[in-house]
């Protein structure tokens, strides 16, 4: 093999595309690159879309969550407001030693009641055969310790005889219902049972 043949061989080996049209090669390579590049572009588009969708979904869910939280907070604030109003209108009945024939169990705990040890007295009154006065005090005790449902149950389970107790119980019932019912219209039947003094007190609530 002479030097010319050797160098020709090297050239041929180095550029194996020498017999092909360079412009055509470039076009084919461009076309193949185009296919890869376009595919990558579409795949990346898909990925971006999914990512964006995920972000939008998260944002939407967070918004809903925030709205739910604000809603709950507003609802709680409303309940708290009602509680504060009822508290400002309510006073625990004054308990004095009974002068009647029947001795009341609550008479024994006047000091505790004056010291507002309501839970202690409530425990003592969790017995059967209580007088109407005791039951009335017990209902107020339940109310004072925020056991509204228990207070209401006790009120509904008894038929109150004493006119004074009846008026007081109606007032207590009204205050409980005010905190648990949704609308003022629902409160009306309880309002009409009140004495004029209590109606005056309840005026702000009903207006």
């Amino acid at each position: 093999m002479n030097p010319l043949q050797i160098s020709l061989g090297i050239i041929i080996n180095c550029n194996l595309l020498f017999d092909l049209d360079p412009q055509k090669n470039t076009n084919i390579i461009k076309e193949l690159l185009y296919q890869q590049s376009s595919k990558e572009f579409l795949v990346s588009l898909d990925r971006k879309k999914k990512k964006r969708l995920f972000i939008y979904r998260m944002a939407a869910m967070l918004t809903l969550l925030l709205l739910a939280l604000v809603g709950t907070k507003m609802l709680n604030t409303q309940t708290e407001d009602k509680h504060l109003i009822a508290e400002s209108l309510y006073t625990f009945p004054k308990v004095t030693k009974s002068r009647g024939v029947v001795a009341n169990l609550s008479d024994q705990y006047i000091n505790e009641l004056m010291n507002k040890e309501y839970n202690t007295v409530l425990q003592k009154l969790k017995v059967d055969a209580l007088s109407e006065q005791d039951l009335y005090i017990k209902a107020n005790l339940y109310y004072a310790v925020d056991s509204l449902q228990e207070a209401l149950n006790l009120i509904n389970q008894n038929s109150w005889q004493d006119a004074y107790v009846q008026d007081e119980i109606n007032w207590l019932t009204f205050l409980i219902k005010y905190q648990t019912l949704e609308s003022k219209a629902e409160l009306s039947p309880y309002y009409i049972k009140l004495t004029d003094v209590y109606k005056e007190k309840a005026k702000d609530i009903m207006e």
Binding site: K24, T26, E31, L33, Q36, S37, L45, K49, M61
Partner: protein
Amino acid sequence: MLLKKLILALFFNKNMHTRILTEAEIYQGLLQGGRRHDESLSYIYSSKDFKKPIERWLIAKGLTKEEASELWTDIVVQFSSLVRNGKYEEQNSMVGYIKNLSGYMFLNYLRSKKKHSVVEIKEYGLEEPTLENHTIYSSELKNLLYTRMEQIGKGCKEILKLWSRDYSMDEIKDKLGVISVEATRKRKHICLKKLLSEVEGDESFANLLRDYY
């Protein structure tokens, strides 16, 4: 607008393509290249008028959702390639043409995945030699080129990819943040030369390229 997007995203999983393109606009966009090409390509790719019927058809033919989605990407690219090479003649409807193309691509897909050992084209009612010739996978050649692409560097790869999608030098300059159009042109020239020199010495590449002729 944002709220609408949020609601759509949360409840309907809707695609958020807002601008509707006509078939003529898609066609022109693909021919023009650059940003308009990408807009047209992504429109076909995600528009429910094109994507849904084809994917549904592919799934009905036995492909999984993922396979159908993968093949749909290839179909869109192939369609665009045909348009750019002047093989697509505007017909009654672009969807009809893409459906026909999908038939061939589906058969090739089956062949390439060896799901069917023998696939008869006539079984599928496909009789369009132009499409058949242009849908045959030249996967070996492609793979070889893509391997070579890895050797020329990330920057070069990016510039050549944009060039292949007919981005103007000005668009490439903006997209890649090159100083000037002239510098972009120079860089593209160097990158292409680099890629060509990479493939020139590869015997198998040369042989495959000859077959491609």
